[in-house]
């Protein structure tokens, strides 16, 4: 049989069905393509700015001052290629504006002449040219980023205090190309000349600051400073604190948060894809059932089952192939709208991109998923009992359960593959599939249970009209007795609302967690407190009658061995296959913040083991307490022996307990806490928390601390929480955009299913009119049936989403669960309004069908 002729005829005869299938696939694929497009645009934007982001060709950095021998070794390694160099120090500090009586946390960038080698600091008068004669280095000048200038409400010339130093606001930087995406920063940036740093006295023992040495290299240096070169040098340094960066490493680092966010967006788009697959399944199955007789005739004429399979699948594969470029166009059309929204939310202007080629690995998986879902329908048709069908008995073939199970398994495997591809994480991908399965099973389980119970009740009922009247009785029977349509509609509508409800409830729970006006939550969180300042600070707070909630020491150290086995750091900035590998590696590389305490503080809960007071450890060791997730990530268990190195001195401890920490308490908390007696002599700084107080007093206190202890940084916890909530809300809005897209795909899919259902029910509608049910009532019954289904689906989906959010809130965020009736109600009502649009378009058709059509059928 000529397959092209078959294909042409198929399209001619079932044009509407194939158009709907293709359109559904375009919607599903379009969402995936759109997110890949956004991710590619984001990466290309970051890569195009990678030199500007690093500001140089190569840098050596650490979150501590660089040692002379480290600098020497690095300079020696680069001497043949280095053209120029400068140092940059980044730290957080309080900036005080006496004129405004305002003290705020800022990110201080300390620079040297020549900064930046690449990129620019744009001011109203053009780019800053930081030569050695620039006022930034020879006068008491400080430059403020526009965001900081607006926050402090200062003008050029105003006096500012940074640490111990008095400065003048000499200019405003409008755009800093080394800054990356500002949407994620918690404090605005200020610029200080390296020559003036001493005036501030900000850099002391234990101060947290990043120090970096940047180089401009000759044009032919790129071939020398390869990844292998870098790995070799990193090995040579053998210090987790040291970080060597090239422009490509910076772009990887800068893109990390964007990529992670993109992965979550892609997962949301997968929900839309799943809904589109559900729609395709319904439409294809309907089409196959309409073609059963054709298949029976072909089989009777001697067409082999394999050939019949191909004939059924060929048009579908063609639809899929046609949908790919169309989805590309669809995503291109949506791109400017979505980038516009993202620009508003995060201030990220993304460049236009071409076809998202990075989606190719996903296409075979999507194709396999679609095929695996549809194959049972194809098998039903191919195994059709030929004679029965030719005798006008509508019957389909039986598919052995084992074969159906295998197709189901293949669908699950391809969906899992897709989720892992989208999330770049086994864990998140697996959780996503588990969540989808759970939500689907909940929806399906409820639907099947309702059918079982409903059918039992109906059998006992003496008449069709029950408590819902005749119309209700007929509608309920239709819903219960067309389980596949009911189930698919509930799933198609329900999954989208699961996602919207999940995000909405998570926002509420996290919002409540952050916005709780708890007496335990501090008003101010302070850091960079020097060892010799603790007593003075205590006295000052006592004088001002401010409650000191907590004062904790912090010592920097590195983990060198676990149970006497070396704890090696692994890849640095390499490309990780999965997010888990990346996270674990990052934990291993860190210099760790250690502390000591005599027991648990109020924001900590003992999970395993015993308190320090009851702990018995071998001689020469000290008791250790680890945070639960930290221990899990590094695979450390109770009773493990850990050795840390603090400024070259080894300190060995034994894990006596594992505790959970309520991080949202904003008290000083640590992953690793020692029992007293081991760290006291190590160089340290202190963290402090000050209890609740009226807002005005808090501002005054912050100003006083800033004047009295200029090197101490203090964060207004309320403001920080506000900033975090704002960021979370922005992220949530972008995710919600995809959730709404998924929701709309569900509505479109159901619209297509409803359209098909209504056409298939033409006879039924005409029959009901013939039997004496008025056209109004008949129309209302069809509308009521779909709206009833939508009500059930949206309500169940909303509840399932709230349930998932509750699980995540308790398990992941360890917060309090919130249920919002108004959110659930708005999901249900909003969804029903959307669903009613395609239904109302069909209502006229239903109303005007003349029952005479029943008599004119052959």
């Amino acid at each position: 049989m000529n397959k092209f002729l078959w294909l042409r005829r198929e399209w001619q005869r079932y044009r509407a069905s194939h158009l709907l299938i293709t359109a559904t696939m375009v919607l599903g694929l379009g969402g995936v393509f759109l997110i890949e497009r956004l991710k590619e645009a984001f990466l290309s934007s970051v890569r195009s700015q990678e030199r500007e982001l690093l500001s140089s060709d190569l840098s050596l950095g650490a979150r501590r001052p660089l040692k002379a021998q480290e600098i020497e070794r690095f300079e020696k390694a680069t001497q043949d290629y280095a053209e120029a160099s400068y140092r940059v120090i980044d730290m957080s500090s309080m900036l005080y504006a006496p004129g405004q009586e305002a003290a705020r946390l800022v990110e201080v960038r300390v620079v040297e002449p020549g900064f930046p080698f690449y990129g620019s600091l744009l001011t109203a008068d053009g780019n800053l040219q930081l030569t050695a004669e620039h006022p930034l280095f020879i006068e008491n000048c400080i430059w403020l980023h526009d965001e900081a200038a607006r926050l402090f409400e200062v003008k050029v010339g105003d006096e500012l205090r940074l640490g111990e130093g008095a400065f003048r606001h000499c200019g405003t930087v409008l755009k800093d190309s080394t800054q990356g995406f500002r949407g994620f920063a918690l404090a605005p940036r200020v610029y200080l000349g390296r020559t003036r740093l001493g005036d501030t006295q900000l850099v002391g023992e234990g101060t947290i600051a990043s120090h970096a040495l940047h180089f401009k290299l000759r044009a032919d240096a790129a071939k020398v400073f390869t990844t292998e070169w870098k790995e070799a040098l990193v090995k040579e340094f053998d210090d987790p604190a040291i970080r060597i960066q090239r422009p490509s490493d910076t772009s990887e680092q800068t893109a990390r948060s964007g990529k992670l966010f993109g992965d979550y967006l892609q997962l949301a788009s997968l929900v839309a894809l799943i809904l589109a697959v559900v729609g395709t399944f319904y439409l294809f199955r309907t089409l196959v059932h309409r073609r059963l007789k054709d298949v029976a005739i072909l089989r009777a004429l001697g067409v082999a089952p394999g050939e019949a399979r191909k004939l059924l699948l060929l048009p579908l594969a063609t639809d899929f192939l046609v949908a790919i470029p169309l989805a590309g166009l669809f995503s291109a059309a949506l791109f400017p709208i979505v980038t516009g929204v993202l620009d508003q939310l995060f201030g990220t202007q993304l460049p236009p991109t071409g076809f998202p080629w990075s989606v190719w690995p996903a296409l075979p998986l999507i194709f396999t998923l679609v095929m695996a879902i549809l194959m049972p329908s194809v098998e039903e048709a191919v195994r059709v009992p030929v004679m029965a069908l030719l005798q006008d008995q509508e019957r389909v073939g039986m598919v052995p359960w084992r074969q159906a199970g295998l197709w189901g398994l293949l669908a699950l495997v391809s969906l899992s593959g897709l989720a892992i591809w989208a999330a770049h994480s086994w864990k998140i991908g697996g959780l996503f599939v588990a969540g989808i399965l759970l939500a689907t099973l909940t929806l399906a389980g409820f639907t099947l249970l309702a059918r079982w119970v409903g059918e039992k009740v109906l059998r006992r009922s003496g008449h069709i009209s029950g408590i819902f009247g005749l119309m209700g009785g007929l509608v309920i029977r239709r819903l219960l007795r067309r389980p596949m349509t009911t189930l698919l509609t509930v799933i198609a509508l329900g999954l989208g609302s699961v996602l919207i409800s999940l995000l909405g409830h998570l926002e509420l729970s996290i919002g409540q967690e952050f916005s709780l006006e708890s007496q335990d939550r501090p008003a101010l969180f302070m850091f960079d407190i020097q060892d010799d300042q603790t007593e003075k600070l205590k006295d000052f707070l006592a004088e001002t009658k401010v409650p000191l909630q907590a004062l904790s020491p912090m010592v920097r150290g590195k983990l060198v061995s676990v149970n006497a086995e070396a704890f090696k750091k692994e890849k640095q900035d390499a490309l990780f296959e999965t997010r888990e590998e990346e996270n674990e590696s990052r934990f291993r590389q860190r210099m760790m913040n250690l502390s000591w305490a005599s027991g648990l503080n109020p924001s900590e809960t003992l999970e395993e083991g015993v308190d320090f007071a009851e702990a018995k450890v071998p001689e020469g060791e000290v008791a250790l307490s680890l945070e639960k997730r930290f221990a899990q990530r590094l695979g450390i268990e109770l009773d493990d022996q850990l050795t840390f190195e603090v400024l070259g001195v080894p300190i060995t401890g034994r894990v006596v307990n594992v505790r959970s920490v309520k991080w949202t308490s904003f008290r000083p908390n640590f992953f690793i806490t020692f029992a007293p007696g081991a760290l006291e002599d190590a160089p340290k700084s202190w963290l402090a928390a000050i209890g609740q107080m009226p807002a005005q007093e808090k501002v005054q206190l912050q100003n006083q601390i800033s004047r009295k202890f200029p090197n101490i940084s203090s964060i207004d916890v309320g403001q920080l929480v506000g900033r975090m909530m704002e960021l979370f809300t922005r992220l949530k809005k972008a995710l919600q955009l995809m959730a709404v897209f998924a929701f709309l795909v569900g509505v479109v899919v159901v619209g297509a299913m409803a359209q098909d259902q209504v056409l298939r029910r033409q006879n039924e509608v005409m029959l009901e009119k013939t039997l004496g049910i008025s056209p109004w009532r008949v129309t209302l019954m069809v509308l009521g049936e779909f709206l009833g289904l939508a009500f059930v689906a949206f309500t169940l989906g909303g509840l399932a989403g709230a349930g998932l959010a509750a699980v995540l809130t308790v398990v992941v965020f360890e917060g309090n669960v919130i249920w919002s009736a108004s959110l659930l109600l708005s999901i249900t009502l909003g969804g029903m309004i959307l669903v009613s649009i395609p239904l109302l378009l069909m209502a006229k058709k239903i109303f005007t069908w003349r029952p005479a059509g029943l008599l004119q059928q052959p």
Partner: protein
């Protein structure tokens, strides 16, 4: 008089041409009378039946059912009229697929608002020999069984007129005979008028009157 048609005209439009199907047709059916309408394919038998049943509107003329004029009534009123006074049997059975055989038979009476319909429906199903199949769905029944359910349903509302469009057209000869025996017996028993459209001369001869539809009008 149970059913009357006066000067009934209906035309179809095909590719811009007007094709007159019924042209000033008159018909009188007395209470309890059985009338067969025969004619060639395309002569307009089904069109006539749809006008008599108020399923379609004539271009001209009037239809009266038990003294009430059907023509000119709105769709809702026509639907009520059909529910109260008419039963229709189709060649393709046309059962509601999501209702059991029993529920299909109960449906017409429930549309009229009767609540105690189950006993009567069970009796009707017993009368057509389907007591054991009352909880089966249409797709679980054979063609003959489906048509018997359709007959029981048509009689469920105690109609004054039964309109039957080729009721044995989709059945084998033996089953067709059995179904028609049942239809005639039940119509006689309930005193219902029957208008039967058929191609089958044997079936037609069993009616008290046979009318041939030719060139848009009926001839004895």
């Amino acid at each position: 008089m149970s059913l009357q048609a006066r000067e009934l005209s209906k035309a179809h439009h095909q590719a811009g041409n007007r094709i007159a199907v019924l042209d000033g047709l008159n018909l009188d059916v007395k209470t309890g009378e059985t009338v067969a309408i025969v004619g060639k394919s395309g002569s307009g038998k089904s069109t006539l039946l749809s006008l008599l049943g108020g399923l379609d509107h004539p271009d001209a003329g009037e239809v009266w059912l038990a003294g009430e004029k059907l023509t000119g009534l709105g769709e809702t009123a026509l639907a009520r009229m059909r529910a109260r006074r008419m039963g229709i049997i189709f060649q393709q059975f046309q059962l509601v697929q999501t209702l059991t055989a029993l529920e299909n038979v109960m449906l017409p009476a429930e549309i009229l608002g009767d609540r105690d319909v189950r006993v009567q429906a069970e009796k009707l199903l017993a009368a057509v020999g389907l007591t054991s199949r009352q909880h089966h769905f249409p797709n679980q029944l054979s063609g003959g069984e489906q048509q018997r359910v359709a007959i029981a349903r048509a009689l469920a509302g105690s109609p004054q007129v039964l309109l039957a469009d080729e009721p044995t057209g989709n059945l084998d000869v033996e089953t067709g005979l059995y179904v028609m025996d049942m239809l005639f017996a039940l119509a006689r028993e309930k005193g219902t008028s029957l208008v039967l459209v058929t191609h089958d001369p044997e079936m037609a001869r069993r009616c008290s009157r046979v009318l041939r539809l030719e060139k848009g009008s009926l001839q004895a």
